[in-house]
Symmetry: C2
């Protein structure tokens, strides 16, 4: 049990640092836009680097632009306790997504160093270069490189919306040129990420901390219904093969089955394209998205199979056809039980309310989770709003997360 | 009972004239594009004018560009028997829509003049300037001007997709300048329009001619469902207010009620726009079109009321809201019973199969129908295909229509 920082001082420091990091990439929407390798991104990394050096840690980049601040341990053989999150944002994002995990790590390490000196095991703060996929069609570029699941070839021939090639952008920011160490790490003891929930569960259930057991698996499909275009006025109802009507029935099947599921499965149809999309013409083709998530891959599989089997009944009645093209199938990733138990013990001892939960959103922790023991901890998001300038978490909640991180790092590294 | 033209000669003449008129506006799609007041449109009207003059009829335009070919009658007091259709096409249209009614009128009047000389009542062939609304947001500009339901003010401030004002286009084609007579006619005895069905009823039921009792009434709505945008991964199903799910339920209600209707009502949802239309975001707003048609306005009203009442049940369950914005409400228009009986008598006598039917599509006849006794007669459309280069009607069917028109005009004018 360690002595914790004074709440008032900690609150002040968190608020200042949230504004400090948000000042890099402040945009006209009132939000923050820091896209991989752009000037705001470079400025933010340089500012974090300066802050790391000010704390007396050694700062270094790897060759894709991940930034590390290292507090060496007394044991020269010990692996690294790594903590942090991603520095990039979506376009018009908020001040907390990613940023909070980096800020919390900086504050926690500063506090531990000041109060407890050198740890047994090295602790590193990481500002991961990219997670959001907002500039290039590429996500988890930072954690993916550290864990070795991404290869340099993956970014050949991909461009941003302005046609700038990924590699050109990387080179212009000073990376990918061999000036820094290769990113793959084999020396990680564990990874701890503090993040805003980006959902409403903690807020609605009035819990301060979420201990994530799994990051859910995700399947995504493009579902296309093929019917027959015809004149809206001259085609009797019973002769129609209406791709829109079929789609409405299929979406209803998905939603009713998902609503009836009591296991926390979620299914979403958020996108639809209709051809020809004219009010007085029966639709010949409708494509809609399907996003299904659950912490158990078998349940996702069973859900999809059951729905797709119902689809056949509808299309055969309607004289239409359907194809379900699966283009993403990410398995669920379990977070580390021991780390979670340690976090739970601390929260119980401190009398802080918490919830064991799954993460419905993806995070760098799901990449680290297959590479080393990983812990993902949530603080509440007001109204569940994220990826928006309106993203907000109360300082009190931010503070509880930082205090938990201080305790955890102490347990793990001292 | 009159002597009819020889089938082989008539077939040849029809086929030649279909290709002749289709040569004005032939486009790269293999179809025909003649948009109001464009060069192809002007060339077609000039070619029809030349043909009219070659027949010895007097040709004249009115001030909006409708072209008339007049065969004077012996009775100076008699009103005009008018026949024809529209010369404009959709973009990438076929050879028959509109064109067939003009060609049939020219052939019928030529035949009658050659074989029976001057009629008692004047007969006029009309090539109506516009029906489709393909260039400007304006439909029935030709028939609407003749019947006085359209006013010149209606085209102030409307432009085509290239930003060309309606009036500029009209002036450049030589109309709207007072060089021709004002279009409104008070001297019409009746109007007869021969047209392709643009549906599959005649083909499927193996009938040669459709005698149209009514042109259906049409209502069109924009229906907007308002829900709440949220993260597809972090929002449990029971907290969602999903505008897409609600829309699927509403479309299903519309389709099930329309399918259960046994009166020939048709309802179509052909267009949908989703906001934000992203696969991993729950839709906050969905707008879809509704097109409802029937020959009885009361039935349309009852159908909409019943559906909209069901809508309330769904939206209150889903915690969403819906607005139904009616932007078109055209009443059904009855065709003339006496004209239809005359046509039926002729067909019975000739042993030609026919069907009394409604027209689910709009035609110039619905504008004339509120102004003077009007008859609309259909020939089959292969596969029901229209507004497409693939539009096709067998010459045999085209010929039966022309022969019916010859007989009808003789009955009405001689």
């Amino acid at each position: 049990m360690i002595e914790q920082p004074k709440p008032s001082a900690l609150s002040k420091q968190i608020e200042e640092m949230v504004e400090w990091l948000a000042s890099y990439g402040k945009d006209n929407s009132g939000g923050v836009t820091r896209l991989l390798y752009d000037p705001a991104w470079s400025a933010a990394q340089k500012a974090i680097q300066a802050r790391i050096e000010l704390l007396g840690l050694s700062a270094r980049y790897d060759d894709v632009g991940n930034l590390f601040g290292r507090l060496s341990g007394r044991d020269p053989e010990a692996n690294v306790v790594l903590t942090g999150s991603h520095v990039d944002t979506v376009i018009g994002g908020g001040k907390y997504d990613g940023a909070y995990g980096i800020i919390a790590a900086l504050i926690a390490v500063e506090y531990l160093l000041t109060h407890y000196g050198q740890p047994l095991k090295p602790i590193e703060v990481v500002s991961l270069c990219e997670e959001e996929g907002s500039r290039f069609p590429m996500t988890y570029w930072g954690s993916g490189n550290i864990t070795g699941v991404k290869e340099r070839e993956a970014v050949h021939h991909i461009n941003d919306v302005n046609g700038i090639p990924f590699e050109q952008a990387m080179h212009e920011a000073g990376f990918g040129l061999g000036l820094h160490a290769q990113p793959t790490r084999k020396d990680l003891e564990c990874f701890i990420e503090l993040h805003i929930e980006q959902g409403q569960v903690l807020e609605r259930e009035e819990k301060s901390i979420g201990i994530v057991s799994h990051i859910v698996g995700q399947r995504r499909y493009n579902i296309t219904v093929y019917g027959q275009s015809n004149h809206a006025g001259t085609t009797p109802m019973h002769w129609r093969h209406d791709a829109m009507f079929t789609s409405a029935e299929l979406i209803r099947i998905l939603m009713h089955r998902a609503n009836a599921h009591e296991s926390g499965l979620v299914a979403t149809v958020g996108r639809m394209e209709v051809k020809p999309n004219v009010g007085n013409v029966i639709a010949r083709e409708v494509t809609f998205s399907l996003d299904v998530r659950h912490s158990d891959a078998k349940i996702i599989e069973q859900f999809c199979e059951a729905c797709f089997s119902d689809f056949e009944t509808v299309t055969s009645e309607h004289g239409t056809t359907v194809t379900c093209h699966k283009w993403m199938d990410e398995p669920p990733v379990a977070m580390d039980c021991t780390l979670n138990q340690t976090a739970e013990d601390i929260l119980k001892r401190e009398g802080i309310s918490y919830k064991r939960m799954t993460s419905g959103a993806g995070h760098d922790s799901q990449i680290f989770g297959t590479h080393c023991p990983t812990g993902l901890l949530f603080v509440p998001s007001q109204g569940g709003i994220s990826h928006s300038p309106a993203e907000f978490t109360h300082t009190e909640d931010l503070q509880r997360g930082v205090r938990l991180l201080i305790d955890l790092l102490y347990k793990l590294a001292y």
